[in-house]
Amino acid sequence: MHPAPSVIIFTTFSGLGFGLLFWLGVGALVPTGLSAFIWFAIAYIFAVGGLLASTFHLGHPERAVKAFSQWKTSWLSREGICAVATLIIMALYGAGLVFAGARIGIFGWLGAAGAIATVFTTSMIYAQLKTVPRWKHWTTPALFLVLSLGGGALLGGQVIEALILLLIASSLQFYAWVTGDTRLAQSGTDMASATGLGHIGKVRAFEPPHTGTNYLMREFIHVVGRKHAQQLRIIGLGLAFALPLLFLLLPFNHIFAALAVLSHVAGVLTLRWLFFAEAEHVVGLYYGKR
């Protein structure tokens, strides 16, 4: 799949933002007044900034409001609804903390549940796709959720929670890679089933439909970036998990905390890039590629 920057930025930053909103919502940190304003501003910049980035890849962003209508079948529609509902509820919760110094528990818990639902619905946009066997697996929503909550904990200074969640996330990521690498081969979809010609013999793509490229090849076949996948996996694991864990274990210091967050964000951006670049869409088989 084409690793579009808008979608990588969207999933990374809105994941972090909603993760932080979760910890604010459950009351793991209960700031009031100006400090509450700053915490909520950070969470909203990440969450809303990410959502806005996601509209950049739309052909017609001005019609985006129509995307709230098809929640009965569409995970993308459900995600939009969950995101907006969570942001509204958490704004009410945040207003209570900023202006009245009071924690309205019901809004906090509802908002925390909404943050989880938002990240889950985002992940299901990818995990639902039978056409991308690497994504169609429980590890996709699990990783999105653990990364979001772990990143949110790191951002919100919840050291123990961050430590545990980042450890879980790194093992989940490793497991997702190991099992994901063979999932296309195991899916049963290959050039023989794509063309229905396998009963005659071995199928080879002889001539593509056009001499040039096209939308399908640009969007679904991304072979070039996979060349350095192994190195990027190690860099991603190091930046997203190993370095932040190291900084967390060192005696607390604001510079270390900032470095841990920066390193984690850079790492998750790398992992998200790989999430797209490594994913093989079955349509590539029609072009003899994967």
Partner: protein, 253 residues
Amino acid sequence: MTQLPPPSAKKLGLVIDLDTCVGCHACVISCKGWNTENYGAPLSDQDPYGAAPSGTFLNRVHSYEVQPDQGAAQLIHFPKSCLHCEDAPCVTVCPTGASYKRAEDGIVLVNESDCIGCGLCAWACPYGAREMDAKEGVMKKCTLCVDRIYNENLPEEDREPACVRTCPSGARHFGDLGDPDSDVSQLVAERGGFDLMPEQGTKPVNKYLPPRPKDQEPEIDILAPYLEPVAEDGKGFAHWLDKALSSLPGGAQ
């Protein structure tokens, strides 16, 4: 609505004969011609006369080489467009309701004025049947020429999809695959028509007819006896060389 309607009795679709297709791409051109001039946004091209041309097509013809265990390889031309699946995954993922499957005849369409161009339907389609138009920013797909097949302003023989109408080798057939007595259904039954990627569970309406098995002619060459080669009783240097090389270890007799 992006909820799929209950399976319709009428299932309009195409039957594509891989035995007959000669790979001329006439269906590609007539499809682009009709669909760029009529319903919806035109099918744009980018850099059409330049070094890296690219454009939107609703129908593309691939060519595959198939190598059997024994015998010569076969070249099979393979037109591919929307299969108007019964369980169309492209429809249910659409967040706006722009994608829909018609309850009356099963055609899968996009309402372009509702399409936000998110591209998720193209991600959900295993066949590459949907292409985002780079100029209009909306999703384009085969409409089964819905603006031809019911169009009473056209002469009756033209009320079929442009690709079918234009195919010079008769490799494309249009009809109701929900009616077991229709010509297309009988053709599918007779020739063993198959689905593409059946394991994806999309239940395509369009069917493909496999290439007929190649018969193996025994090698008959009526001229061969008259063309028995080479004098056995050679003379001179060539004869000596032939003998000398044959007598060497590993020499041909």
